[in-house]
């Protein structure tokens, strides 16, 4: 839980000429490409602090700049070791860009990094305040499926579900707005060197919002799927 904010990275030397590399991607002495440090995270690939707000244009520029240097195309005529390292570095760069440019995936990644959320562990329990509405929605979905297979008139149910879909769509917007606020708190906390307990509280809040978001998202997706192909 209390992982340090940024783990110290071990110092390294060049695999080819033994010069200290100071964690650079290329050896300052012989210019050979260097492996990624073991515990580097996506933020450090881009030289960014662990903040949740980032400018998309700047992120893209940085991504393209690094791609020029690291892409396997540049290493076709080099030895196997260099080709392997380029493959490793450029795949991680692409993985990092894929996650960081998506605001929701970015939050999820930060929470994993901070040890708040375990990879692959998804809480699918309904948040208590949504319980009743979600129950009702699932009931309507069941009715719709039954009505469909019985070939009955779907209009009334479809309208009801459209209303529910819209309602949950609005809730999704609300969660997104709340996540934005919590993200701003996190960034501000980093700047102000907030206490561990304060940071922990913000992370827990983010985690809760993320769970709620994915729950609502699944509900909406379920409705969309059932309503596909029905008119009105």
């Amino acid at each position: 839980m209390n992982a340090p904010k940024s783990a110290p990275l071990s110092t390294t030397t060049c695999w080819s000429c033994n010069t200290p590399t100071n964690l650079a991607a290329f050896c300052p002495q012989c210019g050979k490409i260097q492996s990624l440090p073991e515990n580097a995270d996506y933020f450090t690939y881009f030289g960014l602090p662990r903040k949740l707000w980032m400018g998309m244009d700047a992120l893209e520029q940085k991504f393209l700049q690094l791609s020029w240097k690291l892409h396997p195309d540049n290493f076709v005529n080099t030895n196997e070791r260099e080709r392997e390292i380029s493959l490793q570095r450029s795949s991680k760069l692409n993985d990092a860009y894929r996650v960081l440019r998506d605001p929701v995936a970015r939050v999820e990644y930060l929470l994993e990094l901070e040890g708040v959320r375990k990879e692959g562990q998804h809480k699918q329990q309904a948040p208590p305040e949504l319980l009743e509405e979600a129950f009702e929605l699932n009931e309507s979905l069941d009715e719709l499926r039954e009505a469909k297979s019985a070939g009955a008139n779907l209009d009334a149910l479809t309208i009801k579900l459209r209303v529910a879909e819209k309602n949950f769509g609005e809730k999704l917007h609300e969660v997104d707005a709340e996540m934005k606020t919590a993200a701003q708190h996190w960034d501000a906390g980093l700047d102000a060197n907030a206490s561990e307990s304060d940071s922990e509280a913000i992370l827990q809040r983010l985690n809760e919002l993320l769970n709620r978001r994915s729950y609502i998202r699944n509900l909406v997706a379920g409705v969309e799927k059932e309503l596909q192909g029905t008119s009105c």
Binding site: S67, W68, D73, V76
Partner: protein, 613 residues
């Protein structure tokens, strides 16, 4: 290091291109028949030699049992996958085929990568004789929507042909490279690529930076079984039905008649790209003449479902790129099938702008492959290609569901790590099943590989093994595992679900060298003889036709003299002499050929020779 060539290994035609070091521009290499297109047809001669390209294409009619076309449709697929193809294509598949299909040519069996390797070897010969140097490295293009197994099979074909495949490039991306170099345009570009057997749509962003130009693929989609072949199949089914209805003939009873009709329909299809109507005139095996006039409208009605099928992937690719059709600044058409006016119109209406057709749609992919080859050859260049993986990579989880670990349209190379542990004490293995596809259940996705992670006996939950899945710049999967407690790398034996292992490839490589050991002149001789057989048989058939009674006695004796001369030269070994005599016979039969056709058609076909009629 020698030059790297770019190869477009197509369903219908294949090409090889290089970058001219003087001009810096890519160029396609001409083959011995004076065309840059090498028909993707392979024929096994009864004497055991392999014939590829135009000469093999001509054998489709005379030796259908020993000749194969459109083999790309079989690449990387299992016997169960191709049942639908078998209804429409005369592939003779070994019923004993297990994971890898084996196709019969005459009495010999070959895998699809071996057959593709014959085509690659032929192109390699073209390049070597044109450039005057040994070629052993290549960039080969594949449909963007090819899955891992199809890509691996293409790479295997390269190895069997003795080529180091430095990169597999997606066809629409290659086209964008050639196009971008040619037009110097920047912004969002859609590449619509409808070839002989595959359809791809790719959305790219062309960016200029201080270091040079970046071609970033944002999304791709497609259908690896949709193309001009399907148009031919639709037309064929339409005619079969018409003929059968008249009670005239059942095509399913004759492979030869089917091939002959297909050839006529392909010519008709090409004609309808230029003209508003065209007439099919076909002599049935019972000597009855079948004619049908196609208007452009009727033709378009028949092929409409195929054009419509391309639009689903187009919309999905745009949605994945988060772009509206109006955000696309340029549209590029690739593949011979995009010459069809209905396709041009449909694409233009959808995007609201006129598509680019300046570059030859048959050559543009090979040209782009040559550009990429040149980038790799130079090491560091002023162009960079960032491509994506077309399909999501997933692993099977509890209950047959799939957990996606690398989403589709991720920039490649891309990777994902998964941690595994044991569920019971002293468990020694963990089974892992890797899949590709968008569906939620494992049974609906493409199985790529299964393997068992070996675990030292320990209490349940104690072992921690990290498996790294990596999709390389070719779109091909690599798997590695690491024991997190000891830091040791595990070796994994990954058995691909539909693939050939390394030992088999080595054996195939050796065998293919045996096939290739004929020298160029010998091969030319065989091809010239084949061609002479074709023209001789066509001439004999024409002279037997009652209508040929109309020709003058002098004309008949001229033809007979040319026939005798050709027959004589064909027993000798000078292929140039044979070609000369073929030309002479073609010339002597020009009038006869015209006569045998109705006047309306004869004006359209003026100048064609008997073998083509």
């Amino acid at each position: 290091m020698g030059r790297i060539v770019g190869i477009d290994l197509g369903t219908t035609n294949s090409l090889v291109a290089y970058v001219d070091s003087q001009t810096g521009q890519p160029k396609c290499i001409l083959g011995p028949y004076g065309s840059t297109l090498c028909p993707s047809v392979v024929s096994l001669d009864p004497d055991g030699s392999v014939i590829v390209g135009e000469a093999a294409r001509r054998r489709l009619l005379t030796q259908p049992e020993r000749t194969i076309y459109s083999v790309k449709r079989l690449m990387g697929r299992g016997p169960a996958d191709v049942q639908n193809e078998l209804k429409l294509f005369p592939f003779r598949i070994d019923p004993q085929s297990k994971n890898v299909i084996r196709v019969m040519l005459g009495d010999k069996m070959f895998t699809p990568p071996e057959i593709s390797a014959f085509i690659l070897r032929e192109l390699r010969n073209w390049a070597e004789s044109f450039l005057g140097e040994t070629i052993d490295r290549a960039v080969i293009t594949v449909p963007a929507y090819f899955n891992d197994a199809q890509r691996q099979a293409t790479k295997d074909a390269g190895r069997i042909a003795g080529l180091e495949v430095l990169r597999l490039v997606n066809e629409p991306t290659a086209a964008a490279l050639a196009y971008g170099l040619h037009e110097k345009q920047r912004g969002h570009v859609a590449v619509y690529d409808l070839g002989g057997g595959t359809f791809d749509i790719s959305i790219l962003k062309l960016i200029s930076t201080n270091e040079g130009d970046i071609y970033q693929v944002l999304s791709t989609n497609g259908d690896t079984h949709l193309g001009g072949d399907d148009i031919d199949n639709f037309l064929q089914a339409f005619i079969h039905h018409q003929v059968l209805q008249n009670g005239a003939f059942d095509f399913s009873s004759s492979a030869e008649a089917t091939q002959e009709l297909r050839k006529s329909l392909i010519a008709l299809k090409h004609e309808l790209s230029e003209k508003d109507s065209a007439v099919l005139r076909f002599t049935l095996p019972n000597a009855e003449l079948f004619t049908h006039e196609f208007s452009r409208a009727e033709f378009e009605k028949i092929i409409q479902p195929i054009v419509a099928r391309t639009m689903g992937p187009v919309k999905q690719a745009l949605a994945d790129a988060h772009l509206a059709p109006s955000a696309i600044e340029e549209v590029v058409l690739v593949g011979g099938t995009t010459r069809t006016p209905l396709i041009r119109r449909t694409v233009q209406e959808f995007f609201g702008r006129k598509p680019h057709t300046e570059l030859n749609p048959d050559e543009v992919v090979a040209l782009g492959a040559a550009v990429q080859a040149n980038i790799l050859e130079r090491g560091v260049s002023n162009m960079l290609l960032l491509d994506v993986t077309p399909l999501s990579l997933g692993i099977e989880t509890y209950g047959g569901a799939v957990s996606k670990i690398i989403p589709r349209n991720s920039t490649i190379p891309a990777s994902a790590q998964e941690q595994y542990t044991t569920g019971v004490d002293n468990q020694t293995g963990i089974d892992i099943h890797v899949l590709q596809g968008e569906r939620e259940l494992a049974k609906d996705c493409r199985s790529l590989a299964r393997f068992t992670l070996k675990v030292p006996p320990a209490p349940a939950g104690l072992p921690r093994i990290e498996v790294a899945f990596l999709i390389d710049a070719n779109g091909i999967l690599q798997v590695a595992a690491k024991d997190m407690r000891t830091g040791q790398q595990h070796s994994i034996e990954v058995q691909p679900s539909y693939g050939i292992n390394d030992t088999e490839i080595e054996r195939m490589l050796e065998e293919s060298i045996e096939y290739a050991e004929q020298d160029f002149a010998e091969r030319q001789l065989i091809e010239a003889r084949t061609e002479s057989e074709a023209i001789l048989s066509a001439t004999a058939k024409a002279l037997a036709n009652p209508q040929s009674a109309e020709i003058a006695a002098s004309e008949r004796s001229n033809i007979e003299a040319a026939v005798a001369a050709l027959k004589q030269s064909a027993v000798a070994t000078d292929y140039k002499q044979i070609r000369k005599r073929i030309d002479e016979l073609n010339h002597a039969t020009e009038h006869l050929a015209e006569l045998l056709m109705n006047s309306a058609v004869s004006t359209a076909l003026a100048g064609r020779n008997l073998a083509e009629v």
